[in-house]
């Protein structure tokens, strides 16, 4: 799942599609935290809380990224990454 996300990150051109791939990657990492915590150290809670904080940080990151995308859409007109090389004006 992590590598599917990376594949999408490399091959998609739309910024929202890239963000969706990023969500997949983060989600895979969080599953790994939870699963390793459960299987290797079942009586500790570190992995679970790491996952919890990861989820919150991902939500924050998504909100900011979507705000940036909407702003870019307003100034450029579409959200393909090749059109964003003239961000300064």
């Amino acid at each position: 799942m992590f590598f599917i996300g990376i594949f999408g990150f490399i091959t998609r051109k739309n910024m929202i599609a890239i963000l969706i791939s990023l969500e997949l990657v983060l989600n895979a990492v969080e599953i790994n935290f939870a699963a390793f915590n459960r299987f290797l150290y079942p009586h500790q809670l570190e992995g679970m809380f790491f996952t919890l904080f990861g989820i919150a940080i991902t939500a924050a990151e998504t909100a900011v990224a979507l705000a940036i995308i909407i702003n870019a859409y307003r100034s450029v007109g579409n959200i393909n990454i090749n059109n964003l090389n003239k961000m300064k004006n």
Partner: protein, 173 residues
Amino acid sequence: MDPIINLIIFSCLGAAMLALSIMAVTSGSLLRSATYLLLVLLCTAGFYLFLNYHFLAAVQVSVYAGGVVILFIFAIFLTTSKGEALFKHQMRRYVFGFLCVAAGIGLTAFMLVKHRFLYESNTGMVGDQEISMSLIGQTLMGTGKYQYLLPFEVLSVLLLACIIGGILIARKK
């Protein structure tokens, strides 16, 4: 629970998650991609339930499936005009990405086989003890060792900063 039933549930969840994430990455329309993402996140919540992390499953459903996907759908509605097809990269980029991914999967599989995680961690041993809610609350709010008040507060400040930043960026000039 019966180990066989556990294994079946695990395989079904894993297969569904893999298939849905492949579809989310390769699907043609953005809205459909976001829907597949939602299903993947719900499968992940099911996975947490399977691991007996009930609180984590609830957080996953409410934050991801409730908040993040709604944000995605709003952004898609705001930024795509009707009937606009997605542009594609040239073929070389697909080949390159596929090579990277194949190398990564090969490396991971090699490590898994080498360290015999696949054989030793049989899914029948998933603990049946559920973490109590009061333990989670005390760990999240405590200040001792292995307790998480400071990250919690830092995270709330981060979320506040993100809200303000998001408003500031997306605001009309």
